[in-house]
């Protein structure tokens, strides 16, 4: 537990350093996810997530507070387990963009689960390709490390709370340009007795590392996850 707290502290301190970026966006990020076991081997996941900007704070300038629909993603995944710890998944996403730059995305991922005494670690390696009108295809390579920490026992049981911490590094390539993005999520979750999970937390995204202006986006995230 002490080790976990040190990691959390390190992540927070690290992100405080990044908080000196040139542009900061704030907003809400609701998420809805449904997972279905379609057959012994096949699992389907449907997901809607939507970003709603509330404020933009350029460094050294006045903050501008205004509502803006940033994007809404509709995602569908089909996956299979190689064994209880390793899964392969393919997916598709349609993005409804707030600036009319709608896009399609194909997604491939492999995930690994590690079980520890009071927490679980998830490793996700994902590649995706984004297709938008009048733009070159964007290719991304992503790695996410996430941890689920039981708060009321050694494992998360129905009716209990848990903590989720995740950090993802994303490398992107588009039309000979490379980009790097970091996403850190800290959320408090609750597993209900009927297998629904509710989570509220912060999603902190930092990108444009290679550009003149570093950008950070801080989303107040709340998610509803259902396994049927």
């Amino acid at each position: 537990m002490r080790y976990i707290l040190v990691v959390i502290f390190g992540m927070i301190v690290g992100h405080q350093g990044m908080a000196q970026g040139r542009l900061t966006n704030l907003g809400f990020f609701p998420e809805l996810q449904v997972r279905v076991k379609a057959s012994e081997k096949l699992r389907l996941t449907g997901k809607i997530e939507s970003q709603h900007g509330m404020a933009s704070l350029p460094e050294g300038n006045e903050a501008s507070w205004a509502y803006r629909h940033v994007l809404t993603d509709f995602q569908g995944f089909a996956g299979t387990s190689i064994n209880p710890f390793v899964s392969l998944t393919g997916g598709y996403q349609f993005r409804l963009d707030g600036r009319n730059n709608d896009s399609h995305r194909t997604i491939q991922q492999i995930s690994f689960l590690q079980r520890k005494s009071t927490f679980r670690l998830g490793h996700r390696i994902r590649t995706d390709q984004t297709f938008a009108a009048a733009e070159a295809i964007e290719y991304r390579l992503r790695y996410q490390l996430s941890a689920e920490i039981a708060l009321q026992g050694q494992t998360v049981d129905p009716g209990e709370y848990y903590l989720v911490l995740a950090d993802e590094l994303i490398y992107s390539y588009q039309d000979r340009d490379s980009g790097l993005e970091n996403r850190f999520v800290a959320a408090l979750g609750h597993l209900s007795r009927n297998r629904q999970k509710f989570q509220v937390g912060i999603d902190h995204r930092t990108d444009r590392f290679f550009d003149a202006g570093l950008r950070q986006r801080i989303w107040f995230k709340f998610g509803w996850y259902l396994t049927l």
Partner: protein, 198 residues
């Protein structure tokens, strides 16, 4: 834009159908739960037995475990360098002692027998966790702990393992007797990880 809205509407309808149709199945779910409690809510008999057997181990964490309608108290702590889990019934009577151990610490004949079971049953296997389980009369268990000698009580091995053969790739919990013969095994279901990977 119109096409987009139609697409979204269809997506929402499909999601809604998927969402609500199997809700009636929830009642069949087996509920297992373990949650932390304060020492003040533990029966005195359990705390007394623990004190008499183990002295005053540091950092004892108490839990209530609910499995298929049966509840018990469980104390978890480290004693003589090993993680111990001591289970009591609701009146505070000792039920069993489980001590986390390693494959190498098992008697050689037991290892051979359990290893033979793994090799005969699975193409590939991996041991995740081993606990020695001691059961017996409260006084015998107490004396065994004090003397670090468990010959007067029943010894079993609870092993969590991954096993892979032609028909399945599963995580199991197997209970073996002191000679390494399989007494029972049950499949361990891994709780959903959708919030970690999507």
């Amino acid at each position: 834009m119109r096409h987009t809205m139609i697409w979204i509407s269809r997506w929402l309808v499909v999601t809604g159908l998927v969402w609500f149709s199997p809700l009636a199945l929830y009642g069949q779910e087996k509920i297992e739960r373990e949650f932390r409690i304060t020492p003040g809510t533990v029966p005195e008999a359990a705390k007394d037995w623990l004190h008499e057997a183990f002295g005053s181990p540091r950092k004892v964490k108490w839990y209530v475990e609910e499995t298929s309608g049966k509840s018990s108290y469980e104390a978890k702590f480290v004693f003589r360098g090993a993680t111990h889990s001591v289970e009591f019934d609701l009146s505070g009577r000792i039920e069993d002692i489980e001590v986390q151990t390693t494959w190498e610490a098992l008697p050689e004949s037991t290892r051979e027998s359990i290893g033979r079971y793994f090799k005969d049953t699975f193409k590939k296997y991996r041991i995740e966790k081993i606990q020695v389980q001691y059961t017996g009369a409260p006084e015998d268990l107490k004396d065994s702990v004090k003397n670090a000698d468990f010959v007067t009580v029943t010894t079993r091995y609870e092993i969590e393992f991954y096993g892979e053969n032609e028909t399945s790739k599963q995580l199991w919990e197997g209970l073996f007797d002191e000679n390494g013969n399989l007494l029972s095994r049950r499949e361990i279901a891994i709780p959903s990880t959708n919030h970690l990977f999507f």
